[in-house]
Subunit: 391 residues, 4 copies
């Protein structure tokens, strides 16, 4: 039974369509929704809606759901529609009338927002950790190979002297800025929406700072209309920050695919990281790098998807918002697994000193020769033209 | 065992990442890949690579896989990586050495292309049918309610007199043009890629027109490099045609959500099509319409995803292309179910004559009054200014 | 003075914002709007709204505007807002009262649609011609260099033997399919919207087939609501077809940038096509190819822009649609100039026989060796594994 | 003459294509490039490349260019290609040999980055100010009308009681978070790239912190490869922050368009803010709101454009990056003018007390009635079902 059922059964086809895969996605939210419900229940105790022993019973049962879920024994059914309903139904099943009180002073709308936000904070923290890990891997890589010189390219043409150190450090610096962006997103979303109801508050006095504190939110998201409006806004901001990680991985992957070609041979991917062809027996393909490269575009599409779904809509909740859940979840998964893959790759990839050296052809030093003339007092532009004559 | 395995086991984490959910998506392709393999095997018989009885054995076993799949008894395992491997492994398991011959004169690359294209032709045909069905439903709707007048809006302001007939016919005409776009996409992709191998043909003389004929393709896609390049091109074209269906459904849904508000009341959605709120007991929400509206944006994102994944890459296959599979499959699913939902809705929605009439306020007739003056000989612009004075 | 002015002057800042750059973009539409107005005026003569000599006067003056515009002497002012107003104002200025009649039986809405569609048909035809030209250039290129073998790549790894002929023919085939897509878009939009007014027709009997015939439209776009709805739909379809040209150019450019690197040297770009660096005197950069590559992404963004602007809006005209004009115009410009550039490049680029030959390393023949074993009777998979042992 | 010219004239058509409109866009960068050049010249003095009087001459001339530009007397010609060339050519024209020294120890690549970043910091500051202004306007609006109750909607259906205060405060809170996002973007890009050359440094010892200090950058962007890579990354981050402003304006506009319809009448737009129709004399159209709404989608497209242009490219500069300039500039323009428009609108729009009151129908109080039962001790779910029976 759904939370909102009141005697008119929903057409079965309509139900199948509106529920979609939501009940599957929601499996990820179960522990966060329980956590939020525990804080909510404690607050209801605080303001006298629930009695102390009622609070304890509910908290105990909610903790039991977390436990069941950890063991994959708490399943959301299609008929349940979502995790919120499944949890309330479970509470009513176990605790009877008491379960019917748990939804006091909240709506599914602020419940979803809260569970999602707790989940998002968790995943952002995981991303930050994976980023730090990759930075560490890159540091070791630079330590090992940093001195090796290789050609630096612009316009995909040999330009000036570069080095593995310069190349690796570039990504370290970029990833540090990604950490900053992750932190920005985290701080933005670190506000507690529980208590905003369906976007117009609840007709009862509640203690929102108490709930926020229990859930470790930095602050209360006061305005209930903004709470709804922030759905999509917050998600697109966090997806943007993930896309910045992914564009870095896209570039690393693109570099590695190119420069591990036999024609360059600067990098060597372990054979155990390469797949083959069903027809060509000699092939060693860098599929893992190609997929990381391609997955950047998924992140961009997810961000855009959310940005477009939420446009041209008036204030207040719309069911359209539901479709922002999947891109966020997938965005996190992809970013986390791509970061892990890249850490594995950078920790195992080899730099081929010999090939790097072979690549260091004379034109890479043309600019240095200009500057030798500059140091002898020639104007830069004149020195440039003088050396240019040779090419 | 994978088709390309040759003694260097793939790192387990890399494997998990590169396979992803592909083996699940591929379940949809099993019958199409078998169909293509049957045609391929018959061709191999034709050119003397297989003997007649070998052909018959392989065809029989491939048909058996189709049968098993129909009963959900043919499962692709993660270790199989994809349906092509699962099928070849099954054939080798059942037929021994003979199974090892089936991959002669093809690559997984042209196999994927062929299976996908057969699947796509099938789904495009299904979309066409659902479109025709919706056109039929709209025709009956117009027949029943067409005479009812209601306000026509521009800039979301009352403009001139409209009617249910005008409104419904507008979508009928638009959907007829969508049928045309579906047909355009169908004709474009109706070319057989089997025999193009991994993008550079196969080093053996084969009979491509024979295969194309068996698979009911209109023509052979001759150039193998183009066959690879068309992956993404064809998919984005068909997703564009689906997006045109979805923008129509988006507009219908947007119209119905607005004009079924109590403030207008022109349309009435059956209660059994509406969901409720977990907090507000009075709510009858048009979730089904909101989701159809929102799903348009998924189609746009899918098309864009494919367009971006395939950019900035040189000729020839890249593993990136793999990521074009899911958006195509999801695009079809969404379009088909949204069309079905809209047919259901239009067949059940009611027009409220009373409210439409109430909406017919005088300003809707201002333009007609201008034209009365025009008919009396006044210049249009003068007549316009004269009537405008009243507002 | 604007067509709709009636005594309440528009706030100056609001005016500047709403007009934007429209009056500049509209300069391109002047001849098409005049053409449409001539047909409209003749039709008004036909149905008795205008007398024969009135028709002749108006037609003469409209032709004069076309002439003035050809000499860049017809300027749309910011106060005019758009070309339609500028033209009506001009007619009133020259012909007095008679000019005030020209807007009878139409709205700016169907006027814009008609002028845009005539413009679009023109530009699509131009694209088709440029495509045919590029196909011709590629044919000559293949004739000259087609026999040269060079490595074929998959996953950016040497795969099998390819040739300049195979490569060039791949793009010829792809561009032929682009011609087909251009034709599909052309046929879709080849319907006359004039007479649909502001989306609800005009309160006077007019002869729409007569107008359509004069303007060489294949058919009348009957339903006025659909006429409005097709704005955006038609534009996104034609932009999609342009994007398919651009993805081909993107791929050609990506191939040429890579394979003209010294590390490959298969292709040689004339020096006069390359730009240099402000700091590195040796550089020969393929900027022209990089820009063609990048401009593909503009086309994708334009299509998406239109698709998103028009979503989540009810039936009928919205001012939002105005913003679909610029992406269409820019989309055409970019595609046309990119096609012209590519024709120039392919006609001048050289294939370096020596370097292509050097690239033909043994692993490219591994598959052929598998097939030699197959021809001796070994099963494909066994032969594959046998040769694979060497790698 | 271009900075990189060395005797091989560039093909004229190629030149026209590669320069494009860049020389026009660059007009905006002239003062920033001069500012950066002044700092650069002072640094060259510091490290002994230029003598004190040379520094002063160059600084004086650069300041003169700023002055000329302020009076629109410094024009970049198409042959100049960009502002950097125009400025160097001007310096050489005025100061001869001395001008030829100004490009020592830098490349156009880091010059562009620096000028753009100074420009971006300026524009972000302007956005922040416009945001603060709009927040102020909203505060006064809330002060004036905040007490007025009106219906709150979810799913575009009457939900619970809302108020102008709640509605306005929602946007104030959202815009405060936008200020935070603007600040995040500002802090990210506040690093000085001058001295990174073409992405691989310059072969001469320079004092980068000195330059950064003079240009008021918070820190030096040390790694030159990251400096190039950050092009696109920084721009997409700032466009994301602008898109968050625009989605707020999109929502405000969507609310105002709907709720100023006669059918609601909660808001009243001044007549001088409305445009009319060329055919319907009664129309008062909210074009300004529709355009603000639509322009959100431009911002999304710009961000995406940059994200896609920069994908799948190896490290180092590519000419593709040039195409990221226009979307950034347009993004700023649109956001700034939309913010200004919205401030104007909110300061002038009226709330219609009467209509708001009329909108307050009984179902809006259903939830409150549930809570009355809850306060009497009934469980929430039971109370909900009891009240639900009435609907």
């Amino acid at each position: 039974m759904k939370l909102w059922e009141k005697g008119h059964p929903l057409d079965k086809k309509i139900e199948a369509f509106t529920v979609g895969d939501d009940y599957l996605l929601d499996q990820k939210l179960v522990p966060y929704d329980c956590l939020a419900s525990i804080a909510h229940v404690r607050m209801l105790g605080q303001i006298g809606i629930l009695q102390k022993n009622e609070v304890e019973k509910l908290v105990r049962e909610l903790n039991r759901i977390v436990e069941l879920d950890r063991k994959s024994q708490f399943k959301i059914l299609k008929e349940d529609e979502d995790c919120h309903t499944a949890i309330e139904n479970h509470l009513i099943g176990e605790l009877g009338k008491l379960g019917e009180k748990v939804h006091t002073a909240r709506s599914r709308n602020d419940q979803v927002l809260t569970a999602l936000r707790l989940y998002e904070k968790d995943r952002l923290t995981a991303c930050r950790q994976q980023l730090e890990k990759l930075i560490g891997v890159f540091r070791r890589f630079v330590k090992q190979y940093g001195q090796i010189q290789l050609p630096g390219y612009t316009h995909m043409r040999k330009a000036m002297v570069s080095s593995i150190g310069l190349w690796g450090q570039g990504f370290i610096d970029s990833m540090k800025d990604n950490v900053y962006l992750i932190d920005c997103a985290y701080k933005l979303i670190d506000q507690c929406p529980l208590g905003t109801g369906a976007g117009y508050g609840v007709p009862i006095k509640i203690d929102r700072p108490f709930v926020a504190r229990l859930l470790k939110f930095k602050r209360v998201q006061k305005n209930p209309i903004y709470a709804q409006h922030s759905r999509g806004k917050f998600e697109s901001t966090l997806l943007h920050s993930l896309s910045q990680i992914m564009i870095d991985l896209n570039k690393i992957a693109t570099d590695l695919v190119l420069f591990s070609m036999d024609e360059f041979g600067y990098f060597e991917l372990p054979k155990s990281f390469c797949t083959g062809s069903s027809i060509m027996p000699q092939k060693q393909n860098p599929d893992v790098l190609e997929l990381i490269r391609a997955k950047y575009h998924l992140l961009v599409a997810y961000e855009m998807q959310i940005k477009n779904i939420t446009g041209n809509l008036i204030s207040g909740y719309h069911r359209d918002f539901q479709l922002t859940k999947e891109p966020v979840m997938k965005g996190f998964e992809i970013t986390l697994e791509s970061l892990a893959m890249m850490s594995l790759i950078i920790s195992k990839i080899k730099v081929n000193r010999e090939n790097c050296k072979k690549g260091m052809t004379p034109e890479l030093f043309a600019t240095e020769r200009v500057y030798e003339l500059v140091k002898q007092g020639m104007s830069f532009r004149e020195a440039y033209r003088k050396i240019a004559e040779e090419y």
